[in-house]
Symmetry: C2
Subunit: 631 residues, 2 copies
């Protein structure tokens, strides 16, 4: 299907918007009137610019408050429309969006509206134009698509059709199945926007919180299945009003936008398969196809960029948790540490390290164990993830990697020493080292927590979910001492790959200290034994206030002796309502923003210990203040 | 009245919160349990710390999901309460907040709840504690204060009373007049929060958007009048959950918070005057009194900090608008420019100018013409505005000035050359200069527009309104090419003092270009003449795209010849629904973020030309790009 985006969804001047949409590969745009009015180019110049960029101007929008008016206002409105048709002719666009009126002076008389829309259609026809009439969710009289269609059907003019906007339909809870009753050729335009479920005034919700398909809670796949069943074969066009996108880099937003449409087409192709008539619809509109996600069996490794100071700290902590140095990269300053199937790479080769503050550390790469790394990488690239060009020496594996929006490198791997394509081939392996010190059963990476900049969160979540084939799993807001931090967990079906994405609730200002934290949680059979082991190795774990344990005693049935042990070893606890329990503790921080967690899940506990996060972040802040790093 | 603030309303560790509340002059705090749990100090240590700071711990909160439960849960809940009473004894606080249950496992049986609250009251009594029961607006069964009071009255135990929270009551639209039916001694606590009117899920609204009294849309004065009529004489306590305050500097938030209570007490004293019984209430609780605002007759001057480059540009523009240099400061590098009653000071003495980028300019001071400058300044200081210490030489006026939260100096002045206390005494006046070149009637400063950092907006608006005695007047959101900018106008009754405060809708990221703009609008009798005059002086005004005028022709009845003239001279137009019209144009920018506007109001137009702001900001962005300043 042709893919289009409304200029209002991108930041910048009109020229920058056209450039961004073209660069990333959109086929067309909806031209938002304010972008035209603010632009010193003439309409004809803008039209030529779009053509040069290979962009079709699919729609001119919006035209407001046309119908249901007294005669003299109708005359003024038709004059206004005539002016706009002239502008459109210069632009080279043939369809205008007319929104149902919100004017307090309009009247809700369908007969009158049918007559007036008919006159508009006549005028449009005389100019060689088409009118797409849309029911705004907050329209004064016409606020649902069935009503808009009823009026358009009554006018019965070839220059008048409907525009269907997923937000206006789904935000009201209207059943989109009725779309099937509209002939495809009378659907002049389809606008797509997702949105998070919110109990908010629909106008505010629409103006500030729309997002790209897959970033909200609407079933846009189902919506589009209805649309396609009508025979509609026009563009899929994104019309997203979003405070963040208005402020974000236009190229980046355009990439995010197009990715959402590729992912939507994929799910649409899957949804349309069952019935023959829908298969026909699928064939007709030529949905893009991409490789399905390969099965992911967990994390192959997690790589941390360290400067020499942070490396020393990381090594001590890893050693204290029973990890052993298990290999060295053949050509790079990268050391592999291993415990069970948990592998951590410490990488000292960060480029541009002159700007890297002393003692810093951060997760720079995650690698997932893929049943088919080549397919995984091809899928990622089809989803607009830039491939990372790799240089590799003789005997080194041709690893498949792409860059995530947050800058993290994402590798698709196989971990099998016997396989020449395994990433392990890049390392000289210390076989002996791998055989000892697995004292208390760290078995694998349980999850990785990556912080995201405030404005890149939806983009990152959509990226990881679509590229890996993960599902949203858990969301929460946690109070850091200096601000609210939002977290969303995404994971695959068997929870082998769990990823926790966090971001500050507000951008700007002095961000919460924890807004930039990364951490790796290791699954462990017995965190009590692990904590004791670390204590005996004199490795510091994060202090937890006594008040936390007093509260635990007040509100749980944990045995007092258990609480005493937890208090001594700074072990935290969470439980769910179905008997699941989570015992965990944290190492101290290293490299200003990294730490490890050891976790023990019991009884099917499927969360991330979120109720303890505020206690953790307060303690971490105090650690950094005491260390003189901040404050 | 004693003034208190909940620790959850301030950022930082508990120690920082106590420190901030004490520094600014609060009498007490509500201790939020999570602040205790995250703190390594013992409860006794925290209690001592508060005492050392002169703070009373007024309330421990919250205790959740106590009532309407099966027996075994009740036992667990009483055990939990017992633990908390022990902690409270160590803290030195005697009142706990119990919120109405939200548990899906609770039952809504008033008889059961009365029995269980009675048992809690008994237990509290045995510990020397009091329970303040509060109806959460989203409580499962008990969600309005009348219901909470009915239950408390039925228990009839001296250790059980109600907590009244303005948000929970006013957010539901409940009539607060019923508070008068509650005996004052049964109101154990009063929590105050304001909030902007929003159609949002009440829980989300409460958790993220509460604000201090006077910053939202609730009538807290009326609410408190009801409360005081009962004989309540406990603290006024602010419980404000707000994403911004969580992230802001605690000292600054505490100042803002206390200012809101001072302003509330002022309006409360005025509200209570009419009836004798209410006068009695006013006397009993000893409301703080502050000087009422003096009458303000307009702007005495606006002062702009300029570096030498920006000064040249500002001088050219002022000269082009008919201003003349009318005086020099006796001891500072400050030049006065004048046209009619509009006076602009250009100040080259900005401290720390080594950090001031080349070519910059910004409004650094506004001066209002006060009927009583001493009283105005005293009022400002009573509202916690820091006085600006002034050094003045012989023959110079002792000007009264305070600092606004945004750093702007605010002067209270008299402009009268015959008066020794007039600020004019600081200047050597060029009498001749003032007599000529008033060609097209610039008469006075129409309004000043000051940008605010994203997080200081509510604070700034409350500051200017309370200090000057202004009212909120107009609000709008405008799309800059790089993000949304919110504007709120405040003004006095006769519109002599109009102030437009703007801020980016989102903090952080690459802010909209216009997020830091300041400008001064001058009232002018004939903007057409002024624009022609500027053209003949070859002074550039801001370019306006031709598309703007095509749209104007389409949607207005302006005469084509008028539109042609406007197009030629880049004059913009707005109109209201009552025949008011606004013609205006802008100078080009100078100093990266400053410009002037000439405005002509007709027919009672009372706005700020906001529909044209997007066109202006797009044009300004293009001007800066062309100048190579950005891009």
């Amino acid at each position: 299907m042709r893919k289009s985006i409304a200029t209002v969804s991108l930041s910048g001047t009109l020229e920058e918007k056209l450039n961004a949409a073209a660069q990333v590969g959109f086929d067309g745009i909806e031209l938002f009137e304010n972008d035209l009015i603010g632009c010193p180019l003439t309409p004809a110049q803008i039209g030529r610019r779009a053509t040069e960029f290979g962009l079709r101007v699919e729609l001119y929008q919006p035209f407001r408050d046309f119908e249901g008016v007294p005669d003299e206002v109708l005359r003024a409105n038709l004059r206004r429309a005539g002016h706009k048709f002239d502008v459109m002719a210069q632009l080279g666009v043939d369809t205008i969006l007319v929104c149902s009126t919100v004017s307090p002076r309009a009247v809700g008389d369908d007969t009158l509206v049918v007559d007036q829309l008919g006159r508009l259609a006549e005028l449009a026809s005389a100019h060689g134009m088409r009118v797409a009439y849309e029911a705004l969710a907050w329209g004064r009289y016409v606020n649902d698509y069935a009503h808009a269609w009823k009026l358009v059907a009554a006018v019965d003019h070839p220059s008048l059709g409907v525009c269907l906007d997923s937000f206006h339909i789904l935000s009201r809870g209207d059943d989109p199945a009725g779309i099937r009753d509209i002939p495809g050729e009378k659907i002049f335009f389809v606008q797509l926007a997702d949105a998070p479920a919110m109990h908010l005034d629909v106008l505010q919700w629409s103006r500030h919180y729309r997002c790209f398909p897959g970033q909200g809670d609407f079933d846009l796949t189902g919506f589009m299945a209805h649309v396609l069943s009508t025979g509609y074969d026009g563009p899929l066009s994104l019309e997203v009003f979003n405070d963040v996108f208005r402020q974000a880099d236009a190229d980046r937003t355009a990439t995010d936008a197009l990715r959402s449409l590729v992912a939507l087409e994929e799910s649409l192709a899957a949804r349309l398969a069952p019935s023959t008539s829908e298969l026909a619809a699928r064939d007709r509109v030529a949905l893009a196809t991409i490789d399905p996600p390969a099965e992911l069996a967990g994390y192959s490794f997690v790589e941390i960029t360290v400067d020499p100071l942070a490396e020393l700290a990381a090594q001590s902590l890893l050693r204290g948790m029973g990890f052993v140095p298990a290999g060295r990269h053949r050509s790079k300053p990268v050391q592999m540490w291993r415990h069970g199937d948990a592998r951590v790479l410490l990488n000292r080769s960060r480029p541009g390290r002159e700007e890297w503050p002393r003692g810093e550390a951060a997760v720079c790469a995650i690698a997932v164990e893929s049943a088919d790394p080549v397919r995984s990488a091809a899928r990622a690239q089809a989803l607009l993830a830039p491939a990372i060009p790799r240089r590799y020496g003789p005997g080194e594996a041709d690893l498949r990697a792409v860059a995530a929006p947050d800058g993290t490198s994402v590798f698709f791997c196989r971990t099998d020493a016997a396989d020449a394509t395994s990433w392990l081939a890049d390392f000289t392996i210390d076989d002996e080292a791998t055989e000892h010190r697995m004292l208390y059963g760290v078995s694998h990476v349980d999850y990785v927590a990556l912080s995201q900049p405030a404005f890149a969160f939806d983009e990152a979540a959509l990226f990881y979910r679509s590229v890996f084939g993960l599902r949203r799993h858990d969301s929460a807001e946690v109070a850091d001492p200096y601000g609210l931090v939002r977290g969303t967990a995404v994971s695959n079906e068997d929870r082998g790959v769990r990823l926790l994405l966090t971001m500050p609730a507000l951008g700007g200002g002095p961000l919460p200290e924890s807004a930039g934290y990364h951490h790796i949680a290791f699954a462990c059979e017995d965190v009590f034994a692990a904590a004791m082991q670390m204590r005996s190795a004199r490795l510091p774990t994060l202090s937890v206030p006594g008040n936390y344990y007093d509260d635990l005693a007040a509100r749980t049935n944990l045995h007092p002796a258990t609480i005493d042990t937890m208090r001594e070893f700074a072990i935290l606890y969470d439980a769910d309502d179905e008997g699941g329990a989570y015992f965990h503790f944290f190492t101290v921080m290293f490299g200003r923003r990294m730490f490890f967690e050891l976790v023990q899940r019991g009884g099917g506990y499927d969360g991330y210990g979120t109720p303890n996060t505020a206690v953790r972040t307060a303690a971490q802040y105090r650690q950094l203040v005491l260390a003189g790093v901040i404050g």
